[in-house]
């Protein structure tokens, strides 16, 4: 078989127009393995594998196997469906649960039940409670006011301290003057004060 013929047969094969006889010709060509053109060399393995499978006979229980597989797939699909249904139901329950809680929270945000039913009395209690908090917090805060008073009280002390510092500096000037005069006497420097 020449190269042109086998190439046209292969084209025909891939177009799906080959007869059984022509397919056998292609197979025989690759089986012979003589002067296979480079461009169709990669197809050798493909055509020989088809040949190999075509010679394999189906097992006796193929039909059973196919049916078993179909059953298995069917079961799996049913299982998935029932799982989905269960998921929908549980999601629904969960959603209802959330709504219920939300509803409950809106009506009754806490589980606490008022022991007072009279609004006026409730107002008095709330007000007194806040006033009590204020009073006690105020007690704590007055200590800060005392601190403020202490700092005010120590203000004159700090002023005295500043005065002392100034006096000290003044005294140092005084000593400096004394020393300068002694130095003048020793070296008979003419008094610049004149």
């Amino acid at each position: 078989m020449n190269t042109e013929m086998i190439l046209s047969l292969i084209d025909k094969y891939f177009e799906g127009n080959t007869s059984l006889q022509e397919e056998n010709q292609i197979r025989d060509f690759f089986l012979a393995g003589v002067s296979i053109p480079e461009e169709i060399a990669p197809l050798k393995e493909y055509f020989l594998s088809i040949d190999k499978f075509s010679n394999t006979l189906p097992s006796d229980n193929l039909e059973e196997k196919i049916l078993a597989r179909i059953d298995q797939e069917e079961k799996k699909r049913k299982l998935n469906r029932s799982f989905n249904i269960r998921m929908y139901i549980t999601s629904g329950i969960a959603a209802a649960f959330i709504l219920l809680i939300g509803f409950q929270q809106t009506i009754k945000p806490t589980g606490m039940k008022s022991t007072v039913e009279d609004p006026m009395l409730a107002m008095q209690i709330v007000t007194s409670a806040f006033a009590e908090v204020n009073k006690n917090m105020g007690k704590g805060m007055t200590n800060f006011q005392y601190l403020n008073q202490v700092s005010k009280a120590t203000e004159p002390v700090s002023k005295i301290q500043m005065l002392n510092n100034s006096m000290e500096k003044a005294a140092k000037v005084h000593y400096f003057n004394k020393g300068y005069k002694a130095f003048q006497n020793m070296h008979e420097i003419p008094n610049t004060d004149k």
Binding site: T90, S91, A94, F97, I98, I101, Q105, K108, P109, T110, G111, M112, K113, S114, T115, V116, P119, M120, A122, M123, Q124, I125, V126, T127, S128, A129, F130, A131, E132, V133, N134, N136, M137, K139, G140
Partner: protein, 176 residues
């Protein structure tokens, strides 16, 4: 199924929104001999906040602020143990100490004569206070007070001042 369990567990805090961290202590001692219990629930706070109270024009702004703050409260609980020196009151104090969450901020402790006052608050991540506790222990009794809701300390003082002085008489008038 796992996801649902996780969801349910995540939802658990919803049940306890607005409840005191010391819920177990309140439950344990409420109604017992030697204790006085006062609970004001969220509905009552809503009712009070929506009550039309006439105040002087000058006080209106402060009063409105106080009412807005009250609207955000979900509960007030006061539990008083009479006879501070009794074993029951000591147990009560111990239970409070044991059940107070560690993350609660101790805002202030005031010791004034024979009375000790402690202020604690639960500060949320956004800075708001969701529970404010005041514990007063003196020679006569032990008082545990819990405010729950969205609490602003500035407005607490406003409610105390504004309502005590200006609000109450007007409220009584509207009720009559």
């Amino acid at each position: 199924m796992k996801k649902i369990f996780v969801l349910l567990i995540a939802m658990l805090p919803l049940f306890v929104v607005g409840q005191s961290a010391l819920e177990s202590v309140f439950e344990k001692y409420s109604g017992k001999d030697g204790f006085t219990t006062v609970n004001i629930g969220p509905q009552m706070f809503q009712l009070l906040a929506n009550t039309n109270i006439q105040v002087d024009v000058d006080d209106q702004e402060e009063f409105d602020e106080a009412m807005a703050a009250m609207k955000q409260l979900t509960g007030l609980r006061i539990l008083t143990c009479e006879n501070a020196g009794s074993d029951l009151c000591l147990r009560f104090r111990k239970d409070i100490a044991q059940n107070t969450p560690k993350n609660y901020l101790e805002l202030m402790t005031v010791k004034d004569g024979d009375s000790d006052v402690k202020f604690l608050a639960n500060q949320e991540k956004d800075g708001t206070i969701s529970e404010f506790l005041m514990l007063v222990i003196d020679t006569e009794d032990v008082v545990l007070m819990s405010f729950t809701g969205v609490i602003d300390m500035n407005t607490i003082s406003k409610i105390g001042e504004t309502m005590q002085i200006e609000g109450m008489d007007k409220f009584e008038e509207t009720e009559k």
